[in-house]
């Protein structure tokens, strides 16, 4: 692979907000600015008023430590901040307090990795570093930036804690990038530091090149979903240029998610000089082994460990358990469910997993919701499995009631409302069976030489009862009736 022509090289810089913090990175303003009146969650520090000074949020250090441990990075024992200087209206001080691993600076943690699996092939995505920084304010435009008559600045976001995860340029395809981000999102969720489903909680910059050529940096990718799309576009663009014999320029490009294209912002010679230098208003923070050990001891179970445990405890396949643990809420739901009924064993464990990963997940994806957005309770899935296994409903019917279950209705309520109880009354089924035989002489004739033709008759009975007929009893009755007519022996 690696020697192949047109080999794609991708490195990602992922910025995530630590939404689970109560306060901003350097002041005591609320971190939870979403939905708030613009410029209401601000103070002298986060709007950079003259004379104000930053003071570190210790919880942010703990959260970053959690993530660094979960990603297997080496945490630097002395943490200090740098100023990144540039003028922009979203910057309250016209510099951003960040960390820097050059000019005498150090990142929060160096190295680390995330293992991804693609087409049952495993690969370690090696990380360069993670570091903490403050989020700038939010710029609000009327319509698109280009045509808006004004720019409004909302400083509620200013000073919110971001953590940046920088990979080495080792990602070879948009699919790998997608898998990497999926795993990263999962680890962040398990670390309980952030909810990445919040709008604007994720921003990604991607460095993309075709090996041997100049790279471009694509900025402003504002969700994990967009990343794969932006990468695909940029790779095609670069390959097309090369095909036409053009040279690629080292440049910064902007992802326009409306038009789904990248646009050149500036080329290398116009790159900003950020004049990084130490932020001396913050004293270095010492992170000792004792602290790291304490955070480690308190660190919740991570997805990889959980997957191994689920395989062992519930006899699941690697494929099932890996998928199940990806979303912590789904995995919690699963464990709550299967443990709530003592009669459950390996068959039910598997059934529960299938319902969750197929029908429920599909519905959630279509609705763009998470399991906690719904009223679905684990006990409903337990009931569903029991109804099926006790022959009270068919799998087919079960699939049709998932939507109502999401609204929180119990299965008996739904079946009652829909009249979808299984019909096992033999007299009634006999009546339907006779009707079907009368109405379909050709099929009955067919039954003489084709043993499978009986299925068509059973299907007719099911149709008459709108799927409510018990398939086992129906089959027995049909066999009996055909025997009586001397069609089969």
């Amino acid at each position: 692979m690696s020697s192949q022509k047109n080999e794609v090289v991708i490195g990602l810089e992922v910025h995530i907000q630590l939404t689970n913090l109560k306060t901003k990175l350097f002041c005591s303003c609320s971190n939870n600015y979403r939905g708030a009146e613009p410029n209401s969650y601000v103070c002298p520090i986060c709007i950079g008023l003259p004379g104000s000074l930053p003071a570190i949020n210790k919880k942010a250090i703990e959260f970053a430590t959690r993530l660094a441990i979960a990603l297997n990075g080496n945490i630097n024992e002395s943490i200090y901040f740098f100023r990144k200087n540039y003028f922009y209206p979203d910057m309250s001080k016209n510099f951003q307090i960040s960390q820097y691993n050059k000019a005498g600076g150090k990142a929060f943690a160096d190295g680390g990795q995330i293992t991804i699996k693609l087409n049952s092939h495993k690969k370690d995505i090696i990380l360069n570093r993670i570091h903490l920084e403050e989020d700038p304010a939010r710029l609000v435009h009327k319509g698109s930036i280009a045509t808006s008559p004004y720019t409004l600045v909302d400083y509620n976001r200013s000073g919110v804690c971001l953590i940046e995860i920088v990979t080495e340029p080792v990602i070879s395809s948009p699919e790998e990038a997608r898998e990497f981000l999926k795993q990263l999102k999962s680890i962040v969720q398990y670390s309980e530091i952030s909810n990445l489903d919040y709008e604007g909680s994720v921003r990604v910059d991607a460095n993309i090149s075709i090996r041997g050529h100049e790279r471009s940096e694509v900025k402003n990718i504002n969700s994990f979903r967009e990343v794969e799309r932006a990468l695909r576009h940029e790779i095609v663009r670069q390959k097309n240029l090369l095909k036409r014999g053009k040279l690629l320029a080292q440049e910064t490009r902007h992802w326009d998610d409306k038009r789904r294209i990248t646009i050149s912002l500036r080329t290398k010679e116009f790159e900003a000089d950020y004049r990084y230098f130490p932020e001396q208003d913050l004293v270095p923070i010492e992170i000792d082994d004792e602290f790291i050990q304490k955070v480690k001891d308190e660190l919740p179970e991570m997805p990889r460990e959980r997957s191994i445990r689920l395989r062992r405890d519930y006899n699941l396949s690697e494929f099932d358990s890996d998928n199940l643990v990806l979303d912590k809420d789904i995995a919690d739901f699963y464990e709550d469910g299967v443990n709530s009924d003592a009669s459950f064993g390996p068959d039910e464990y598997k059934q529960f997993c299938n319902w969750l990963m197929n029908d429920v997940s599909r519905w959630l994806n279509e609705q763009n919701k998470t399991i906690n957005d719904t009223k679905l309770h684990p006990h409903q899935i337990v009931d569903l499995i029991k109804y099926i296994n006790e022959g009270k409903i068919t799998t087919k019917i079960a699939k049709t009631i998932i939507k109502d279950m999401m609204e929180g209705f119990s299965i008996s309520e739904i079946l009652e409302k829909k009249g979808k109880k299984r019909i096992s009354d033999e007299k009634l089924l006999n009546k339907f069976g006779n009707e079907v035989i009368e109405e379909n002489p050709n099929i009955v004739k067919d039954c003489r030489k084709n043993p499978k033709a009986i299925e068509a008759l059973i299907g007719r009975v099911m149709a008459k009862t709108r799927g409510q007929a018990d398939p086992h009893i129906t089959r027995a009755i049909m066999l009996e009736l055909l025997k009586e007519l001397g069609i089969i022996t």
Binding site: G48, P50, S92, N94, F95
Partner: protein, 493 residues
């Protein structure tokens, strides 16, 4: 004697004994300002109404036997870069015209809100504290009360002049490379730059944040000791403030100094130091010896590099600290809003910053730029640690270092303003103290042949404000010139 001729601690006694009411004191102080302000121009804004209102309310509380704090309504002149809630705080810059901070600086909270000082107004300064003469103020210079054709020193020139002319009893200054000690020296008053981290910088508008410290300017050492006692201590909002026990400085002043070893650094008496300054300082050292102190020679071998190092560091930091002034959120924006946001930012900053501030922003930006960073900024940091080590070594041999504060006495207004390099060199004996982060006190020790005050500098080891205040107090009592008022205080020249 007029009230303004008394020391702060004496006035406190008078107020306690009901010989004087707080409104009387504040009114007399505003009367004094009216008498002298047209000549001196120490203040950029006054708070007469509020001050008198507070004086009355403190007086009433005192009548009713309530506690009103240790400062008993003494008037406090604040430097125009320390935030006072709701009061214009402008750094003597056009770019911050009409800026009213929504919060009080830590020191204002301590001195005014907690201990009952009365804020009477903000004093003039070099724009953003950049200068040694207060000529770089957007409001024009503050004149020296000893001779009004001369500068008051800087950057806290308004504070120095307001004390030496009796316009106020207490004043706050800030010191980045000598901005408290220079005006104290030129105006013949006491100024103290504390150890970096001793006093919270929260609410001090930054010039160079790794060097800035707030400190008192007063007529006598006791008053400075009293202010420092109140202002010092850990503030959670300033991470560089140090959580260390605050000494009872006022109680240590009268201790004998006979066992003290004073270091005399030969480099501080070298070329460029005026003969009259040197001789006055040497005489003062003799006095200290007569009080029993021992003297030894020490060396600060890297002194010759300090001005270059100091200016590289303070300009680099300033270029970043002052980036926030773009007119967007507060302060003053250009009247011409044409072009894009960068055009407006550039125009605003070009129009609203004065020439010295612009010069320092240009140079600082240059020094931090890619390709120059290692050559200038990193190198300056290395030299800074060498200078620090010089002091550490010196303090292995002595308790405190004694030397002149300024190599010269107050120069004429306009004399150096067109020669920035000469002006920078005037900081040579004060800025090494800021680079090392140690404390230093300046007290008047005599006059030159023009009748201009000469400053005596006592430099202490880290957090040894106690030691330098003790030596300063003993010398002050021995010299006994601290009650001498500047001529401007007798109706001007």
């Amino acid at each position: 004697m007029k009230f303004y001729e008394y020391m702060g601690y004496e006035l406190i006694e008078k107020i306690k004994n009901k010989e004087l009411s707080i409104p009387e004191l504040i009114e007399s102080c505003f009367h004094r300002i009216e008498e002298t302000e047209q000549i001196l121009h120490s203040f950029v804004a006054l708070s007469k109404e509020k001050a008198l209102e507070k004086a009355k309310s403190l007086d009433k509380d005192l009548e009713q036997g309530k506690k009103i704090g240790q400062l008993y309504g003494l008037p406090l002149a604040n430097k125009d870069l320390i935030c006072v809630k709701g009061f214009p705080t402008t750094c003597s810059s056009k770019i911050l015209q009409d800026y009213h901070p929504p919060y009080n600086a830590f020191v204002i909270g301590k001195l005014v809100e907690q201990e009952g000082a009365i804020h009477i107004g903000n004093t003039n300064m070099d724009e953003f504290a950049m200068g040694s003469s207060t000529e770089n103020s957007c409001y024009g210079p503050t004149y020296n009360p000893w001779e009004i054709s001369r500068v008051s020193g800087g950057s806290s020139g308004g504070a120095g002049a307001s004390i030496s002319s009796g316009q106020t009893i207490l004043a706050l200054g800030s010191d980045t490379g000598g901005s408290i000690r220079c005006p104290a020296s030129f105006c013949g008053v006491v100024g103290l730059k504390p150890t970096y981290g001793r006093v919270s910088r929260y609410g001090l508008i930054a010039f160079a944040n790794s060097l800035d410290q707030i400190g008192p300017i007063t007529k006598c050492v006791y008053d400075s000791a009293l202010m420092l006692e109140i202002m010092s201590g850990k503030d959670p909002l300033d991470s560089t403030s140090v959580d260390m026990k605050v000494d009872k400085y006022t109680e240590e002043l009268s201790k004998p100094i006979e066992k003290k070893i004073l270091g005399i650094p030969k480099e501080f008496f070298g070329e460029g130091v005026d003969n009259e300054v040197e001789s006055a300082v040497r005489k003062a050292i003799d006095k200290l010896e007569s009080l029993g102190a021992k003297t030894i020679d020490v060396s600060i071998p890297h002194l010759e590099y300090t001005v270059a190092t100091y200016y590289l560091i303070c300009m680099s930091e300033a270029s970043s600290n002052l980036a926030r002034y773009d007119g967007l959120r507060y302060g003053n924006m250009s009247d011409n809003l044409s072009g894009d946001v960068y055009d407006v930012f550039s125009r605003t900053r070009g129009e609203r910053f004065g020439p010295e501030v612009r010069r320092r922003i240009y140079l600082g930006t240059y020094a931090l730029s890619a390709g120059y960073y290692d050559m200038f900024y990193i190198k300056a940091l290395k030299v800074r640690s060498l200078i620090k080590n010089d002091f550490v070594e010196a303090f292995n041999k002595c308790d405190s270092i004694v030397c002149p504060t300024m190599p010269l006495t107050a120069f004429k207004v306009g004399e150096l303003i067109d020669d920035p390099l000469q002006m920078y060199i005037a900081d040579v004996l004060t800025c090494p103290v800021n680079l090392a982060g140690i404390p230093a006190l300046s007290i008047p020790c005599g006059f030159d042949s023009n009748g201009l005050p000469i400053g005596f500098q006592i430099i202490g080891d880290y957090f040894d404000e106690k030691g330098i205040l003790n030596i300063g107090y003993q010398l002050e009592q021995e010299l006994n010139i601290y009650r001498k008022m500047a001529p401007a205080a007798k109706g001007g020249k």
